[in-house]
């Protein structure tokens, strides 16, 4: 009798709130502590500087692009992983996690090995006149590489939990596979899809190691906010912290605006 509505929630055990609070404090306290270090006087001139604005704008553009790329590539991959039963998919599923485990810098090396001038596809790309490394495209690729697993894992989990019951009903009503996917499967896992997209966006926004290795750090082209923060740290640690706060604020804002109800 739990269908929707004002169903009374089954109470949570009281002791649960202890560790939950501890967890929340553990995550939030450091960020709050960090803000106490900020010299608010310089804050606004700092964050409105030309370099900061340019980095922020670049970060937003590339993160959006890589999130879209993650959706385009990740939805099909997650669906295949969740719905096919072939054995070799188990292997593929583990492989897709690789970018999660690789330290991002190593991820950057891997991208260079594939798409760099001396990489596996280097000569082919060179022949086509395409130079990926150290361009804005490289930033997007680096971000996509590290973010894709997030989308795939979240979405696959959601697809498995949701099951195939409704897909089957839709097919029996005459819906072809594409219709089923569009009108039933994906709408039903919308919360999971949104969570995945938010995770991917957040990860792209914070991406540093793979970007610096694969795309370098050039203002306006490849110097995203995290790279700028890294630069600032060398000269002025406080400025770096202040810029981090901007990054956090932007992330929370974008996520808050984009997130559909109930997702995440």
């Amino acid at each position: 009798m739990s269908r929707g509505g004002r169903t009374r929630h089954v109470g949570l055990p009281r002791w649960l709130f202890g560790p939950a609070l501890l967890a929340a404090v553990f995550v939030v306290l450091p960020v709050v502590a960090m803000t106490t270090r900020i010299a608010w006087g310089d804050f606004f001139s700092l964050v409105s500087s030309e370099a900061a604005r340019s980095a922020l704008w670049l970060s937003l553009r590339t993160s959006t692009a890589s999130t879209l790329l993650c959706l385009v590539l990740g939805i099909p991959l997650a669906t295949v992983l969740a719905r096919s039963e072939a054995r070799w998919l188990g292997v593929l599923r583990s492989l897709v996690l690789l970018p999660l485990v690789l330290p991002p810098v190593v991820g950057g090396i891997a991208l260079l090995s594939a798409f760099g001038r001396q990489g596996l596809l280097g000569s082919e790309l060179e022949a086509l006149g395409i130079r990926i490394a150290f361009s804005t495209v490289a930033v997007v690729l680096a971000q996509t590489f590290v973010s894709l697993p997030f989308l795939v894992v979240s979405l696959e989990g959601a697809l498995r939990t949701a099951g195939e019951r409704y897909d089957v009903v839709a097919a029996s009503l005459g819906a072809r596979p594409t219709t089923v996917l569009r009108r039933v499967t994906l709408p039903l896992v919308l919360p999971g899809l949104a969570s995945g997209a938010v995770l991917a966006f957040a990860r792209s926004l914070g991406e540093f190691g793979a970007t610096i290795t694969f795309a370098g750090s050039l203002e306006g082209t490849t110097r995203t906010l995290p790279l700028l923060i890294y630069n600032l740290r060398v000269t002025d640690a406080d400025a770096a912290v202040a810029m981090s706060l901007v990054l956090v604020a932007v992330a929370v804002l974008v996520i808050g605006l984009v997130r559909p109800r109930g997702a995440l």
Binding site: W57, Q118, R131, A133, T136, T213, L218, T222, V234, A237
Partner: protein, 240 residues
Amino acid sequence: GDDGDSKGADGKGGDKTVLTVFAAASLTKTFEELEKEFEAAHSDVDVKLSFGGSSDLVAQITEGASADVFASADTANMDKLVAAGLTEGEPEEFATNTLMIAVPPGNPAGITSLADLTKKDVDLVLCQPEVPCGSASAKVADAAGLELKPVSEEQSVTDVLAKVESGEADAGLVYVTDVTAAGTKVEGVEFPEAADVVNHYPIVAVKDAKQAELAQQWIELVLGEGQKVLEQAGFGAPTP
């Protein structure tokens, strides 16, 4: 092309020629100042600086990043680029640097000499031996016959300074310029053994640079007018 992108992105617009300079992270402050000077002198030029660890920058250039000038924090990395045949002409030394002990303001552990760093209750941080300041630290210690026992071997000078600034560590070995740049956040303790180990900064134009002429002019600026700025930042004069 990324040129078009960069112009659109940074909003500077116009058809400015872009000069791309790759420089070691320890040169951030000075080179940013030189950028202003250079752009003032060349109104149609936009200087783009890319800072990083010297080895990272060498790797990037090797992988095809388009740079016009490369300024390294040590000779070893410069030699790698030369060996890869990616340099135009001979690298020239434009600055030197020596080590200094950095301590938190007020020097809570009361460090006065290199030997104090071996005290048991002193939390010492060093650069890891693989990076220039780390190998310099090791050489200094060897020369003085001391065995340094750090609580951490950091990846870069920045990380060493961060640990000292935050008071996490009682002392760290960094370059004079780093102490100067950090201002009041750390104090410097000089020690005589530092003079034995000098770090050399070479600069070079990159082969097939898009802006070969401007690259040469930048190098000239660094070797000439720029020396004042470098000196202010604490760099030593290049060895003749």
